[in-house]
């Protein structure tokens, strides 16, 4: 058994960590939080140059041609520094959709640009508040043109193109849902930035008024393609979350060692010690579950559905738990704008929702375990 990353993968981790520590310190995240730029363009460019945007893209399309384990390693490091870039949208979703369902022409057109960071992609899915189901996909596709509104679309304001889930047959069921690629700078597309709980990751409302759209994958296969891609993205996002959880725990631990009250470090009080121990427990469980997800993703296992939901639920819980109690450990300083705790708190809550909420993934996990238990 070797349930651990290889030495090469660990070396990749070290490279990614060094790169991100240099290029993405907290000040860079604050620059996006407080500045006018929707993301860190220099960092994005650098990630492209390092090859991190094309880890799993085949070499013939300009990528590194590595595996998902390598991408998991990079995802975790991006999560540690809560990188303010459209990585999840472009790499975990848009790239994966094109890899999963794109024609050769679509791959040839988009993958090299995605790998280089020259094009940013995203996925336009939700159309308002509440869980997304086949029934809530109302945006109409007909005659190669889309009409309707998607909100919120992560990185929708900065993306060059979007994979859009649209209705191609009347009714409410999943067989009427298909996918399209839409260039967002073209006619018929209007975008407005929407304010979110984490201003370091921008979101938009996108209105389509007869926007030109190219089918991605077979008509009526949209929902099933989405499910497959979401499982993959869930594992990758879970690594991002576990990276954030670990960093939040470290911040809390460091502060508890340094901050003195009543003549002793606050980390010597059991209330603080045990809060941190519980953070460690949730982060450790999440990491182990992520490794399960990584194994399933990298081996193409039939257990991917179960593993992805397990990793996603566990990592969402861990990051929310650790980021919340990191603030609590910091006391008053924790809820100031000046300390970095809130950056992790914001990101943990954003990532908990970005790919479908925790309760949706909990339900999906038990559905999959049920199927296995009955079988």
């Amino acid at each position: 058994m070797n349930f651990e990353f290889s030495d090469e993968q660990k070396q990749l981790r070290n490279e990614a960590r060094r790169f991100l520590e240099a290029k993405c310190p907290p000040a860079a995240v604050r620059q996006v939080l407080e500045g006018s730029e929707p993301f860190d363009r220099a960092l994005w460019k650098g990630l492209g140059e390092m090859g991190f945007l094309g880890v799993v893209i085949p070499e013939e399309h300009g990528g590194l041609g590595l595996g998902y384990l390598e991408l998991c390693v990079v995802a975790e490091e991006l999560g540690r520094v809560i990188a303010p870039v459209p990585f999840g949208s472009s790499v975990f979703l848009a790239t994966e959709f094109i890899l999963a369902a794109g024609s050769e022409a679509q791959k040839a057109k988009w993958l090299p640009k995605l790998a280089a960071g020259e094009a940013i992609g995203t996925f336009a899915f939700a159309e308002g508040a509440g869980a997304v189901t086949p029934r809530t996909i109302k945006l109409q596709a007909s005659g190669g043109a889309l009409t309707g509104v998607k909100i919120p679309v992560a990185d929708g304001d900065v993306a060059d193109f979007a994979i859009v889930a649209a209705r191609t047959a009347p009714g409410n069921d999943e067989r009427g849902v298909s996918l399209f690629i839409v260039e967002l700078n073209g006619p018929g597309v209007t975008r407005e930035v929407v304010e979110t709980i984490d201003p370091t990751r921008s979101h938009a409302r996108i209105s389509f008024a007869g926007a030109a759209a190219e089918p991605l994958g077979a008509a009526g296969e949209g929902w099933s393609i989405i499910n497959g891609v979401f499982d993959r993205a869930a594992v990758l996002t879970a690594f991002e979350q576990v990276g954030g959880a670990d960093r939040a725990l470290e911040m809390a631990r460091d502060y508890a060692l340094e901050r003195v009250a009543f003549g002793r470090p606050i980390g010597s009080f059991q209330a603080v010690k045990h809060m941190l121990a519980d953070m460690y427990v949730s982060a450790t469980l999440a990491r182990s579950n992520c490794y399960y997800g990584a194994w399933a993703l990298s081996t193409g296992s039939s257990e991917l559905g179960e593993a992805a939901a397990t990793a996603r639920v566990s990592a969402t819980q861990a990051f929310q738990h650790c980021s919340k109690n990191n603030i609590q450990t910091h006391g008053g300083m924790g809820f100031t704008w000046a300390f970095d705790c809130h950056l992790y708190y914001r990101r943990s809550n954003l990532l908990a929702l970005n790919l479908g909420s925790l309760s949706v993934w909990e339900d999906r996990l038990i559905e999959r375990l049920r199927a296995k238990n009955v079988a």
Binding site: A129, I151, A261, R264, K324, Q328, G356, L358
Partner: protein, 418 residues
């Protein structure tokens, strides 16, 4: 067991109700009703409206009801004060900026200032004409209030005045306050609780600098206040030199009660959302998964409400309420944080949207998410509150104190970082 007023209470309530009906700023009702959880009322000059309402109340004898009449109050009973609060309803939220002055500074001045000072300062404080703040916490202190370092030293000119140097933090409303009560260290060579002295001062004294602290939710209710050679006459000392800790206990005894009373958990708002939003299983309130989560919060909300009723009943009988009320903020803070997370979860992808114009429920739950971490810390962290319950209610031993009986200037401290 009943919720009914006694005849005297009913008569008082009627009098209050009539006056409020005739005098309240009804045009603000909607804006005030929609505020809360860290987002203030929109489109209102809150301070101006608050001062106007407080002034009107004071002129009719409805300000600081439980204070003696000669200091601007009404000499009312505690239960009359509760009834006033129930009837004032949403308009009471206008008075947020006065809570510290009325609830903590006023009682401290009343207990320790000269008669002349009381007649000078208390009536305008009651009437909202002058606003007070409380300068207690310090960067190095946090929960350890008595670890404060702001120095007060006798002026070298022999005037008897005191010269203040140091820094306070978490001072609510310092930026709009006229006066403040200030606790300082006058002797660092004795154990930490013994070398403290309390003063009040004019917040416009030379050498006072106020810097707002931006919070996670973007607001700045708190401040840092820096003191550089600020001069305070000895006549503005409250209590004995070295007796500041005892004075502060008077002040703090009221703080947790004020903050804890009527804490919102966010449950009614969540229930309302659940009656309007759909999950994959239909209307959220009909989704068994949602229901099973709601129930726990419902009974916490209800439990806090009726715990408050028990305290009011004690007041009504002329008794002092038991320690039950100490649980309010502890329960409400954590509950609000959990409720906010579920409300965002129900909104799914859209839960990230923080624009009141677009978000479900006017982004109220997003505001709650970003405000609740502060609730769990301000006025006593969850950990301090649990210690208080364990020690004062259950009679368990205090934490081991390594700094007890140690001269203040020999106690270990944090590094340079605030």
């Amino acid at each position: 067991m009943n919720f009914d007023d006694t005849p005297e209470e009913a008569a008082f309530r009627q009098e209050v109700r009539t006056w409020i009906q005739a005098n309240a700023p009804h045009h603000l009702k909607e804006a005030l009703s929609n505020a809360g959880f860290g987002s203030g009322p929109t489109g209102i000059d809150t301070m101006a409206e608050a001062k106007a309402w407080q002034k009107k109340k004071a002129e009719a004898g409805w300000a600081c009801l439980h204070w003696p009449k000669e200091y601007g109050g009404r000499g009312a009973t505690p239960i009359e004060r509760v009834i006033w609060g129930q009837e004032e309803g949403v308009y009471s939220t206008l008075g947020g900026s006065f809570i510290i002055g009325h609830g903590m500074c006023g009682p401290t001045v009343m207990a320790f200032a000269s008669e002349e000072q009381k007649r000078r300062y208390l009536p305008p404080l009651a009437a909202g004409e002058e606003v007070w703040c409380q300068l207690f916490s310090e960067p190095a202190g946090g929960s350890d209030l008595a670890g404060l370092r702001t120095k007060a030293e006798p002026a070298k000119d022999g005037s008897g005045d005191w010269i203040i140097n140091g820094q306070k933090i978490w001072t609510s409303g310092a930026h709009y306050s006229d006066f403040g009560i200030l606790i300082t260290r006058t002797d660092p060579t004795v154990p930490k609780h013994k070398g403290l002295t309390m003063f009040f001062l004019d917040m416009r004294s030379p050498g006072v600098e106020i810097r707002p602290i931006k919070q996670v939710n973007g607001q700045s209710g708190f401040n840092e206040v820096y003191f550089t050679d600020v001069r305070i006459p000895d006549s503005q000392r409250l209590g004995a030199v070295g007796g500041g800790w005892q004075v502060s206990l008077t002040t703090l005894m009221n703080e947790r009660l004020s903050i804890g009373a009527g804490m919102s958990t966010g449950f009614p708002e969540l229930l309302d959302l659940c009656c309007r939003i759909e999950t994959a299983n239909g209307l959220a309130v009909d989704d068994p998964a949602v229901r099973s989560k709601l129930a726990t919060w419902a009974v916490r909300q209800s439990g806090l409400k009726y715990t408050g009723f028990r305290a009011i009943s004690a007041l009504s009988r002329g008794e002092i309420p038991g320690p039950e009320n100490s649980i309010g903020k502890l329960v409400a803070g954590a509950t609000m944080q959990d409720i906010a997370a579920l409300a965002l979860d129900l909104q799914a992808e859209s839960g990230v949207i923080n624009d009141p114009e677009i978000s479900a429920a006017n982004a109220r739950f997003q505001a709650m998410l970003l405000r609740s971490p502060a609730t769990r810390v301000e006025g006593g962290t969850d950990e301090i509150l649990r210690n208080i319950i364990a020690e004062r209610v259950l009679g368990l031993p205090a934490d081991i104190r390594v700094d007890k009986d140690v001269p203040f200037n020999q106690i270990p401290t944090s590094g340079a970082r605030a």
